[in-house]
Structure formats: structure tokens, C-alpha cells
């Protein structure tokens, strides 16, 4: 289990995360990231960490407790 965190002050709406994992990330009307699901399971880690690493401004973190 891991927690997805987004820093809205950094987000620029480049949408890389949404394209990589639209079940976890979306954009709101102002083009800022929305985390749809904060908890992701171990089997999704690869995909969701790839999605987080695809953010050009490093606004996303996937934290394992």
C-alpha cells in the first residue's frame, strides 16, 4: 500500500500524470491535478510511480509508509 501526494503549488497542468494513469489522476477545470484515489496497492506501484515520475515539475510523490 502506498499514498499518492500532489503539490498543487507546483502543478502546471502538463497532464502527463493523467495520460499515464487516468484512474488515479485527473485535471480540474483550472487545469490542476486532482488525485482521484490516494491509496494505491502494491501491484499498481510500478505504473503509478512511473506516472509520478512523468510529472515535469515533480509535483507528485508516491510514499510507502
Amino acid at each position: 500500500m502506498a499514498l499518492v501526494k500532489a503539490d498543487l503549488d507546483l502543478c502546471q497542468g502538463y497532464a502527463n500524470c493523467v495520460v499515464a494513469a487516468d484512474d488515479v489522476f485527473d485535471l480540474d477545470d483550472d487545469g490542476l491535478v486532482v488525485v482521484l484515489r490516494k491509496e494505491v496497492s502494491g501491484s499498481e506501484m510500478d505504473r503509478i510511480s512511473d506516472a509520478a515520475r512523468s510529472c515535469p515539475v515533480a509535483a507528485l510523490r508516491v510514499e510507502t509508509p
Binding site: 502546471q12 497542468g13 502538463y14 497532464a15 502527463n16 493523467v18 495520460v19 487516468d22 485535471l27 477545470d29 487545469g31 506501484m45 510500478d46 510511480s49 512511473d50 515520475r53 512523468s54 515535469p56
Partner: protein, 409 residues
């Protein structure tokens, strides 16, 4: 002996490959070799925040020494690779050290296309942090600034310089409009006006004959004879891949390292990012992307292929690039530009935002350019090559917040 992956090139392509190997549980050694001595850093901010002074070297660091140590990535910085021995599985470094590998990743990227007019003081190209630092210093002395080449980098430099208060900024390009390689004339014209509104003098449709050094600075001489005095000149005329060090490797080089669909240049030789020339998944032929997101996606794919050689994945990118100019964000996806038919969809604030949707001759949606409208971009990135233009137009229009819907023109 545990397996070793050597990654040559320590910018976003190389760093993301190393990180993705670890997150996929690669148990071998990961060695990341980079020619520059500074910690691996990211390039897009160089023409934006770093020039503007709003981001520092620390802000754009991709991998600190301690993060590398924690992840089990061995960083060899300030060490250029000079030769690849494919049969002997070795990378040779400038100081003579030989690194044995089981897999090697070529991530040496590209460099700025050199100025055809030499490098007199005050003339800059922009590709590295060192380039950005010296350019930022010169821009703070004020203008006039002449930017030669109105591609993404040139257009961003002009915009950032205006933001810094540089007074006399001229953007020159032999093409009739900025970014004309990827924009159709109407959208490119919109950007030309944006620059003009922000006080940039635009000289499109005219080339540069020479740059001369005079007593108090430089003079850029245009093809029509006009002399443009300049304190600072930026030459932004594209990039060339760093594949020279592979000349003796026997790999096929053709404006980059030629790869198969799996981003392999040979058995156990992979390529990532700006240096890689790969088959285009939909249009056929070979192409070399020069975009950040492509490098990141290819890095994840190559890491997978190293960990799971039995089940390799194809690198199938949908082109995506962004550019920040003034307070606008330009986003491009798929195949766009002059030769394609297109429709315009006004955005949530039609004065400031819109989407241009492009179609192949058969009516399939080819790609899009969006301006300050990220939600439309998301739809378009997912739809490239799979839907008709009309279907995408409807989806994009539906992404307008209803309260603020503008008239469709």
C-alpha cells in the same frame, strides 16, 4: 557476478532509466555516466525559470548524490564516454577506464546546433545549465537582444527576456511564422501576434547573413541587408544528436542511433531520449523525438525491457510537448501542422485559450495544439490516431466548463 547496466548520459533520459530499473526491482548494479560535473539536471526550465531567475540549479536537479546513493545508483559525473565496444560489452571513458556491462543504455541526448557565425562574445546557444547561467547574466545587462530561430527554445527565450524587462528584443526566422514546423499558419500567426503584443519585434521570412563583432557589441545582418545591433544574440536553430562517440561502435547511426521498435540498437544495447531514432508507431518511417515526455516514457520502456527481456515492450509514444511563453502554455500532441486540415475550438476563456484539432486526409484525428487549456489536451493525447476529428471536437467542446462557454467560431 551480479549483472551491470551502464547508462551513458545523465539527464532526464538516463536518470529516469536508472530510477525505473530500481522501481522494477532490477537486482544488478546500475552505473550512470555523465560528461558534466554538475548533478543531473532538467532542461525545460533552462529557457524558462532558470533564465527568469525563478528556478535555481537546485530546483532543477533530477538526482542528488544522496538520492542516488539511497537508490543504489552509482553516479560517475564529469566522465565522458568515448567508445562503445558492442562485442566486448564495454564502455570506454575519456580517462581510459573501461566499464563492463550486461546491458548498456545510450542516453547522450543532443547538443545545440552550433552557430554558423562563430562564437563572438555575447553570442549564445542554450542547451546546458552553464549556457543558461551565462545567458541569464548577459540578459541582465539589458538589450538589445536578437534571437535567431523562432522554434520553441527561441520563442521561449524571447518571452522570458521580455518578462525580465529586456527592452529591445527581436525574434528572427526565415520561416513566415514562429514554430512553423509544427503549427499551421493560423495558429503560428496567433503566436506571432502574442510576441508582438508583448513588445517583441518579429522579423519572419528573412534569414541571417552574418553576425559581426563591432566595437560596442554585435551586429546581426539580415538577408535583406538590415543591420540589427545587439548586445546579446541567441542562436536557437535546433539540436543535433550526440552520437559521435559511437562512430567506431558499428551501430547504425543516421542523425541519431537507429533502433528497432523495442528501442534496441543491438542485443543488450538500448537507446533513450533525444539520441534515439525509432520507428514511428503509426506513421511508419524512423523519427527522432526531442521532447521531455518521450524521453521519460522511453526510459520506462527500456527499463522494463532490461528487467524482462523475455517480454519486451514496444515504445509507442504519442508525441507530446509543452512550451511556456508569457502567461500561456502551449501544448502539442500527435501530428500537427501546416499540411493538415484543422478546426479551432474556443476554450473556457476564448480570448486566451483554444484548441486547434488536426485531421489526416481521411478525417482521422491526427493531433492537436492547445493553448492554456490542459483539459482539452488530455482528451487529445488519448485520442490521437484512434478517433475521427468530429468525435474529438465534440469531446473537447464538452470539456468547457458550461458556465463559461464561449461561442464556437
Amino acid at each position: 557476478m551480479s549483472p551491470v547496466t551502464v547508462i551513458v548520459g545523465s539527464s532526464v533520459g538516463g536518470v529516469r532509466t536508472a530510477q525505473a530499473l530500481r522501481s522494477r526491482g532490477y537486482a544488478g548494479d546500475v552505473v550512470l555516466v555523465g560528461e558534466e560535473t554538475v548533478a543531473p539536471y532538467d532542461k525545460p526550465p533552462l529557457s524558462k525559470g532558470v533564465l527568469a531567475g525563478t528556478s535555481t540549479g537546485d530546483d532543477i536537479t533530477l538526482l542528488t548524490e544522496s538520492a542516488a546513493r539511497d537508490a543504489g545508483i552509482r553516479l560517475l559525473l564529469g566522465r565522458a564516454a568515448t567508445r562503445l565496444d558492442v562485442a566486448g560489452h564495454r564502455v570506454e571513458l575519456a580517462d581510459g577506464e573501461q566499464l563492463r556491462y550486461d546491458d548498456v543504455v545510450l542516453a547522450t541526448g543532443a547538443q545545440a546546433r552550433p552557430s554558423p557565425w562563430g562564437a563572438p562574445p555575447g553570442l549564445h546557444v542554450l542547451r546546458t545549465l552553464a549556457d543558461a547561467t551565462t545567458l541569464a547574466r548577459d540578459l541582465r545587462r539589458g538589450g538589445p537582444l536578437v534571437v535567431i530561430g523562432a522554434g520553441f527554445v527561441g520563442a521561449e527565450v524571447a518571452a522570458t527576456a521580455r518578462g525580465l524587462g529586456v527592452r529591445d528584443v527581436t525574434l528572427v526566422d526565415p520561416a513566415p511564422a514562429p514554430m512553423s514546423r509544427v503549427l499551421d499558419p493560423a495558429v503560428a500567426g496567433w503566436f506571432a501576434r502574442l510576441h508582438a503584443e508583448h513588445g517583441v519585434t518579429t522579423r519572419f521570412g528573412v534569414g541571417v547573413d552574418g553576425v559581426e563583432q563591432v566595437e560596442d557589441g554585435l551586429v546581426v545582418r539580415l538577408g535583406d541587408g538590415t543591420p540589427l545591433p545587439a548586445a546579446t544574440v541567441v542562436v536557437g536553430i535546433g539540436a543535433v544528436p550526440n552520437d559521435d562517440w559511437l562512430r567506431t561502435s558499428g551501430l547504425r547511426l543516421d542523425d541519431g542511433v537507429v533502433c528497432d521498435r523495442f528501442s534496441r540498437a543491438a542485443d543488450h544495447v538500448h537507446a533513450v531520449g533525444d539520441v534515439a531514432r525509432v520507428p514511428h508507431p503509426r506513421r511508419g518511417g524512423l523519427g527522432r523525438a526531442e521532447h521531455w515526455t518521450n524521453a521519460v516514457e522511453q526510459a520506462a520502456c527500456v527499463a522494463h525491457n532490461i528487467v524482462r527481456p523475455d517480454a519486451p515492450r514496444v515504445h509507442e509514444p504519442v508525441e507530446y510537448v509543452w512550451s511556456d511563453q508569457y502567461d500561456r502554455t502551449l501544448q502539442l500532441t500527435g501530428h500537427t501542422g501546416g499540411a493538415l486540415g484543422h478546426v479551432l475550438v474556443p476554450g473556457p476563456d476564448p480570448e486566451r485559450s483554444f484548441a486547434a484539432l488536426y485531421a489526416e486526409p481521411d478525417g482521422t484525428f491526427a493531433g492537436a495544439v492547445t493553448v492554456s487549456w490542459p483539459r482539452a489536451l488530455v482528451v487529445c493525447r488519448k485520442a490521437a490516431g484512434t478517433m475521427s476529428l468530429e468525435e474529438v471536437r465534440q469531446l473537447v467542446s464538452a470539456r468547457r466548463p458550461s458556465a463559461r462557454t464561449g461561442a464556437v467560431t
